[in-house]
Assembly symmetry: C2
């Protein structure tokens, strides 16, 4: 499709089992850049191991992918027909107890960081944590330092109070790279309207996600349901603040889902998932990304609006922060 | 003094700049056992380094000190005229994100662990943290595991809600190894009556501390002021729940105080201290410990009650937990 081919296509978040097959699918789907999760529960050393893996992968698959640190890099990726990889954290666990490591990871190209994953960390509380109290002193300083360095702050998995306090504390726009409205699907990982509106008001972007547990029909969801989420978000916060953050988990085994949902607990997953996780028909992996573009056009979105949702809104946000 | 010589003398907490001079003073003061801080802000690796240091020190100064893991070990230390060293943590930072490390450190002889230091950690919030919300899910599991292993839980630096929830969550008695009543000196590190009473009701022990900032006259405090704290505590919770936890910081330089009061922040100490820290006259280091015994006798305490305060109460608690 011509519109898809000429557009900048950005996926706000993927956390796949990275492999040549996944990178191939990104190319098939025409993705210009992806916020690729480099750490989700990992500590400093394990994250450094992951980054070392990525450095090898970026060499080995240089025909398909390239690292992205700036919007100029994204434009170059587009010209060269590659998918730009944006290193992203879904947790501040990689910096452990040392705020200076934010700068270290930033130098290594980590341009998006989520304040917390599901549980509490040193900065604040995640959306499945038993307490919900807001940013710690460490968290306040982390927000300041991410602002200073130019790291995009992500709040997708963050608890309500920590989210609201981060929006207030941040001098720069923030993102929900992959989250849906609670008003469409009442799940602890989805966001109340108040949060969605506050992120938009701050100038941020909300990436609608295809992860089936966050859609009203779960594993039986369709591409139409997903476009319904986009419609709902656009109606609530306007066309300039909505993007796509698929949360693709391509190739991840069941044990991996157990791991990310268990976190630091020894008691097993904090959340029950229907296994296997079945993505909506028509949008099962990055290779299907053009179907989103087609569905938005079919839904009656103008070309310029489609371009915003499938990439330009995240591009604008990256440009403002980086 | 005969009573001091025959008694078990236990210091609920010391965090000195460990050296032969300090160990010598412990012997001069007649200390049978000390909860010696092995980690306060350290992570896993740094704590392991500290423990390795202790293993060398225990060999090198075997004429003065020995490691204590059980009440039998304390009795043996007394017989041999040595001071028993109880490894203690003032933070759960050493286990980082892994509850299994509680068992590892327990095997290494760490028999007392504080839930948090001043700030938030993965388990809960400290008394200087900007939020006060209670135990995290990780914290709840940590309490269960410390109960199971037989590690004494310390709440001296812990925030109010995390303290109250720990008392409720713990199946075993807990300690305030070194804390004074807020009603005598209104300092964020001192404890409201509600907390002191709850610890006693749980069967725990409160170690009155000589740290000058926690005494009403600060650096101008006297041994008499300290005995006043013991009087106040005994009046509130009864003679069976009061001990001594000096919080001696013998030989610690000013930079060390800055370090422990700065924690993970990059903004400097969270609390202003009057430097140099001057301990009350008559009880400036462990070598002066017998002065406490003398002062309690002079204050009119019965021999059996003095023995409880200077050692037997902590002995009883150790016996119940270990």
């Amino acid at each position: 499709m011509a519109l898809h081919k000429e557009s900048f296509i950005i996926d706000g978040l993927e956390i796949s089992n990275w492999s040549r097959e996944v990178f191939d699918n990104m190319r098939k789907g025409g993705l210009t850049a992806v916020n690729a999760t480099v750490a989700v529960l990992e500590n400093f050393i394990k994250t450094m191991d992951n980054i070392a893996w990525w450095h090898k992968a970026l060499e080995e698959h240089a025909d398909l992918i390239c690292q992205v640190r700036t919007v100029t890099d994204i434009k170059r990726a587009k010209e060269e027909g590659k998918t730009g990889i944006i290193f992203g954290f879904q947790n501040l666990s990689p910096i452990e107890d040392d705020l200076d490591r934010l700068a270290t990871f930033h130098r290594l190209g980590v341009k998006v960081m989520q304040v917390t994953y599901m549980e509490a960390n040193y900065a604040g509380q995640g959306c499945l944590e038993r307490i919900d109290a807001g940013l710690t002193g460490f968290g306040i300083e982390a927000v300041e330092e991410m602002n200073r360095l130019g790291i995009l702050i992500d709040l997708s998995h963050v608890g309500y109070r920590t989210t609201m306090e981060t929006i207030e504390a941040s001098e720069k726009p923030v993102a929900l790279t992959h989250a849906n409205p609670k008003s469409i699907c009442d799940h602890p990982r989805n966001k109340p309207d108040e949060v969605l509106k506050a992120v938009a008001k701050k100038g941020g972007v909300i990436g609608a996600t295809i992860f089936p547990a966050f859609l009203p029909s779960g594993n039986k969801s369709t591409l139409k349901d997903f476009v319904g989420v986009i419609d709902h978000l656009v109606g609530m916060v306007g066309i300039d603040h909505v993007g796509v953050g698929t949360d693709f988990t391509e190739g991840q085994p069941r044990e991996w889902f157990d791991w990310i949902l268990t976190g630091k607990s020894k008691k097993g997953p904090a959340l029950a998932l229907n296994h296997p996780v079945v993505n909506p028909e028509g949008i099962q992996h990055s290779g299907d990304f053009s179907n989103i573009t087609a569905a938005l056009l079919a839904r009656g979105y103008a070309d310029t609006d489609v371009k915003k949702v499938i990439g330009l809104n995240f591009m604008r946000l990256f440009g403002e922060i980086w």
